[in-house]
């Protein structure tokens, strides 16, 4: 189903873009997080 993809979570590198520049952090995010 549609929400199956948001039921599974894993540790992912997530990009953060601030005025000071871009960097990444490790967060728990759903499986379909690009």
């Amino acid at each position: 189903g549609l929400s199956d993809s948001v039921k599974k979570w894993e540790q992912k590198q997530v990009q953060i873009k601030t005025l000071e520049g871009e960097f990444s952090v490790t967060m728990w995010a759903s499986e379909d997080q690009s």
Partner: protein, 448 residues
Amino acid sequence: SLRGETGRVFDWGPYLMTSQASAVSVSCFKHVPMHDCWEQMVEGVLVEVPNTDLDIGKDVKVYWIATVVKICGYKILLRYEGFGSDSSKDFWSNLLSEDVHNVGWCATYGRILAPPKSIKDKHSDWKEFLIKRLTGTRTIPPHFHAKALEWLDGHKLKSGMQLEVVNKMCVSAMRLAVIKDIIGGRLRLNYLDSKEENDEFWCHMTSPLIHPVGWSQTVGHKLHASQEYINSCLSKITMQKYGTIDATPDMFPKCKDPPHGLTFQVGMKLEAIDPLNLSAICIATVMKVLRNNYLMIGIDGSMAENGSDWFCYHTTSPCIFPVGFCKINNLELTPPRGTKGPFKWLDYLKQTRSVAAPVKLFDKDIPKHGFRPGMKVEAVDLMEPRLICVATVTKVIGRLLRIHFDGWENNYDQWIDCQSPDIYPVGWCEVMKHSLEGPRTRLETYQP
């Protein structure tokens, strides 16, 4: 009925804060988007939201990361990152709002994150702060708002389709209607034979009040429709040749099989929610047994002679109860009009020479639900079902809920099943852009 100012946007946030009330979790409503993944939405989840505390021009839209500090239905109380334990700038939003994004959304879509001006100087190195703060925490899935709306599109009933619906002016009969609009799974139906253009009825697409084309003839229910329609149904039912705009049986939820394969008999007595006064549980009689386990139920003492107020319930309906249900659960049972002295079932059965419907005929399944007294919901005023109102669960008896409309007298309360599609989580109307009637506020006597 409860009549309010339709179209008004009710602000749940301050109301939840002042009443200190909790709300029923989204996961308790099987007919709303994201109910099956809501347990993952916990306090501490991080999101990216517009930063409204800025010292730059308002035409520049920048964002900041916020923590969910409280969840009430779909509504969330947010705190911008960097405020620590300072709750002074906390603000309410909706987790399915188009403005609430997963962490990482800004980088994907080229938007900038900038801290609110109130705390801008609190940290000299925001990058270091964010890395420390964000690592190991959780964010929401991407495109959460779009996914919720996509979930609703999965239903088979579409605008323009025809179906059979209870006649709101004569509840013992069905009429043909066309779906004019669908909002969040709720159908705006227009009676097809009506002379008035706006003779409409609202119900959820899984409501027991609507059925596929040909249903009335299949089960033997009274139908107010043209002879042409009645004739056309016969071939549809027997040959399974439905038209392109016909709502067909596969588009409706399947009813459960009755327990033990036993059947109700005409004349049996029971207790039932009065379909015309949903705050009352009344003495009732099985007036007719239809095919496919449907019953026509009449409320004792208030039945119209022509049976126009008989109401159709499936034998597994959670709105009918065995004799003694109210007594066991310490609930008020409304006796037939004109009853003198306290009502006693044994005397009444003797007096009417009738029998109680055996307990084993009733569906006794009580699903795990999560509704508790005091919790807030958005509830349909079933006497005026285009209205959805701010309401509170005031009693929970097994799977049966008593819903009180905030600010209204108790005689407007409604008994409703915990799986009814006519109750919604807090914030549902906002997501669906449906109007929500706020609590009635009593106006002080005006003296110029």
